[in-house]
């Protein structure tokens, strides 16, 4: 990845550390969201961790690299699909029990993509503000 040498974003040290840790952070987020029923955690906490990992990439490498990884249409697409899956699973199960693996995963996607989308939206809003001045 030649973005490490790129002058945008933070210093070389931050970029290198980010590259090494980003996979572990994502893995930890997925672990947290899958183990919500027997230990503290759940889809919401896992989703927050995943959103933070994306924010981490954005702070280290700048906005373009992060948005290349998760395009704004992809964000909207994943939020909508995950919400529809969530709704569908709840709908077919609403006469019985809810122990279903899809629910924490869908919640993780909604929260992760949603929080990152909000972050991106606020960053873009304040960027357009500076451009107009």
């Amino acid at each position: 990845m030649d973005t490490v040498k790129d002058s945008k974003g933070m210093t070389l040290i931050v970029k290198t550390v980010t590259r090494i840790t980003i996979g572990f952070i994502l893995l930890y987020g997925i672990y947290i969201s899958l183990n919500g029923d027997s230990a503290p955690g759940g889809g919401f906490a896992g989703g927050v961790i995943i959103a933070l990992s994306l924010v981490h990439v954005m702070l280290a490498f700048g906005k373009e690299v992060a948005l290349k990884r998760l395009h704004s249409y992809a964000m909207r697409f994943s939020i909508s699909i995950a919400s529809l899956v969530f709704l569908y699973v709840v709908m077919i199960r609403w006469h019985g029990s809810y122990s279903h693996i899809v629910i924490p995963l869908a919640e993780m996607v909604i929260v992760g993509a949603g929080l990152f989308a909000i972050f991106v939206a606020l960053v873009l809003l304040s960027k357009s503000d500076k451009d107009s001045e």
Partner: protein, 113 residues
Amino acid sequence: MITVYILCLVLFSVGLYCILRKRNLIKIIIGIGIMEYAVNLFFILSGYRTEGRSPIFASDQAIKNMVDPLPQAIVSTLIVIGLSLTLLIISIAIRIYEKYGTFDITRINKLKG
């Protein structure tokens, strides 16, 4: 115990004062946040039992003397609602700054009557 409730009320009043008296949009938003957290704190406190333990169900533990888990579940929902509300108001405030060029609420007065 009663002291905590009074402090909670004080926090609520601080938030309300901040909304009513401050003229900066961002300070008003901070006031809303303080008020929401005061209510959340009150909700959590209403489920507290003296010397209670955390309400995690496991096979080796007897179900007795737990704090009430329902307010905790409710408060996690309330935090999400508060988050979405705060973000919506912040983005509106940024747009207002674009249009009016100020955060001062006394100078944002195109609507009258």
